[in-house]
């Protein structure tokens, strides 16, 4: 099943990378997204990338604790819940990365002294978890109607020991990789909003990964547009 999906995505990617530098073996897994599936939060989305799945809920602009109040902009909070157990250091670090990315695109000055809370629940982790979290939080923010300067997406690249590049790696590929790089890109200028890396890589390889991620981001943004158009076609 998964093999077939990977093949699908490969065709899609290869026919669509004319605008970016072509990278051999570049493929994204199958995406799926559902919005407004929870009734209590102001906005919610579930995002699937292959077997990785994240559920996101957004509350806001809502009431804020006095201790967390910022007088000229909204307080952005991101809470990441792992599938089992309590959130640890890894989750806190990811929360911070996601929060910094969201802060770059959310127009918080339009709602001062309020809080915007993004709650992410990992449903299943099969690699590229941070990228999936970023995508889920973007779709949930859009669903909640939070004003944003641009959309954003997350793309994970893995570099193998022989130098080949794998986009959107599975957990197994991530484990075998020499380096794993995750980028957040915005939809307007396709510029870098956030990057986090693990492992050894050269300067040229970083640039190569970034270029591949930028090319892949087009597919993610195209997918966003399709899924939002489908949502608004109902009314």
């Amino acid at each position: 099943m998964e093999g077939a999906m990977l093949a699908d995505a490969k065709i899609r990617t290869e026919s669509g990378t004319e605008s970016g530098p072509r990278v051999s073996g570049c493929s994204l897994r199958h995406f799926a997204c559902e919005q407004n599936l929870l009734s209590r939060p102001d906005g919610s989305a579930s995002f699937l990338q292959g077997d990785t799945s994240v559920l996101a809920g957004v509350y806001g602009p809502a009431e804020v604790k006095v201790s967390k109040e910022i007088f000229n902009k909204a307080t952005l909070e991101v809470i990441l819940r792992p599938k089992i157990g309590l959130p640890g250091v890894a989750e806190k670090s990811r929360e911070r990365l996601i929060r910094n990315t969201c802060e770059a695109v959310v127009l918080g000055t339009l709602h001062p002294r309020t809080s915007i809370t993004v709650v992410l629940q990992v449903v299943s982790d099969a690699g590229s978890l941070l990228a999936c979290c970023l995508n889920a939080s973007c779709m949930a923010l859009v669903d909640a109607g939070v004003p944003m300067r641009a959309l954003f997406c997350g793309v994970t690249c893995a570099l193998n020991s022989d130098g080949t590049l794998v986009l959107d790696p599975t957990a197994k590929q991530e484990k075998e990789a020499r380096a794993v790089l995750t980028f957040a890109l915005d939809s307007v200028e396709r510029k870098l909003l956030m990057s986090t890396t693990k492992g050894l890589y050269s300067d040229a390889e970083l640039q190569q990964c970034l270029a591949a991620a930028q090319a892949a981001s087009q597919h993610v943004f195209h997918f966003y547009r399709e899924s939002l158009q489908r949502r608004y076609s109902k009314s």
Partner: protein, 275 residues
């Protein structure tokens, strides 16, 4: 994978600013830029390069453009900040300009001056009531802002009561303030909502749809049973019919009609009219 072919073409088109006129009624996404009609002419192929200096450019007959919800001025263009369908309303006289806004399906209410809303009294403190309207902070409501209220003659408002009122102060930097009288001092329908009835929440988009002047849902609902109904722009609806059963039926219909087509609605109403 038929859509794969169009990937490149669309994503490239998405980068360029599109003319606002051409995307009316279509779905726009945050980050898109829109061109207004007069900019279209200016940036057309004919006038590429330097534009001639125009005398008395200020008196040029151009309509005033108003950015509604979901849009922001970005230099001389419009920047979309919310996802939804782009709408436009022509101004009363003359062409060009008018109001542009994005019709989005959000659940969270942000107070807007002049909106009629349903609030719940959460606290009484001295001469003001705190009213929860679903925004980021409770609105304040003076006890003098009711019809016929004086310092001696206080209105009978308890904590937990429902209030139908209007915003007189609502901006992002200040606490919102409500009143239950119009500028002449008349209640005109506002005030404490009576006993019984049912309050429920729907999306803000549905409220706008139901309150549109040409909405056939309300007319159909009115034919079913005699009812009392209050719509708050903050996504709250209060409804009361003769019996609890009828009230619940009405609430369910109103909740369900958001995602129904006109034909489906007709079917439902004809089935209900039979029983």
């Amino acid at each position: 994978m038929a859509e794969a072919v169009s990937v490149v073409a669309e994503s490239l088109a998405g980068d360029r600013a599109r003319a606002a006129r051409n995307v009316l009624g279509q779905v726009v996404l945050p980050g898109e830029e829109l061109l207004l009609p007069e900019q279209e002419d200016a940036e057309g192929p004919g006038s590429a390069g330097e534009r001639p200096l125009r005398l008395n450019a200020g008196t040029r007959s151009r309509g005033r453009v108003v950015c509604g919800p979901g849009l922001r001025r970005y230099g001389d263009r419009l920047l979309v900040t919310k996802c939804g369908r782009l709408r436009h309303k022509e101004p009363g006289g003359g062409s060009g300009g008018g109001v542009y806004w994005v019709d989005s399906q959000q659940k969270r209410y942000v107070p807007v001056k002049g909106d009629h809303v349903i609030g719940i009294v959460t606290a009484k403190s001295g001469d003001i009531f705190k009213v929860d309207v679903g925004g980021s902070e409770p609105a304040s409501l003076s006890y003098l802002a009711f019809e016929g209220a004086t310092k001696r003659n206080r209105p009978n408002v308890q904590v937990g009561d429902l209030i139908y009122g209007q915003f007189v102060v609502a901006n992002k930097d200040m606490e919102p303030e409500m009143v239950c009288i119009d500028s002449c001092g008349r209640a005109s329908g506002m005030g404490v909502i009576g006993q019984d009835g049912l309050l429920f929440k729907v999306t803000l988009g549905l409220i706008r749809k139901l309150l549109a002047p040409d909405c056939e849902i309300l007319q159909e609902v009115g034919k079913l049973y005699p009812l009392e109904i209050v719509f708050g722009m903050n996504g709250r609806i209060w409804v009361k019919a003769k019996t609890i059963q009828q009230t619940l039926i009405l609430a369910n219909i109103l909740e369900a009609c958001e995602h129904m087509t006109a034909d489906q609605r007709k079917q439902i109403f004809s089935r209900l009219a039979e029983c």
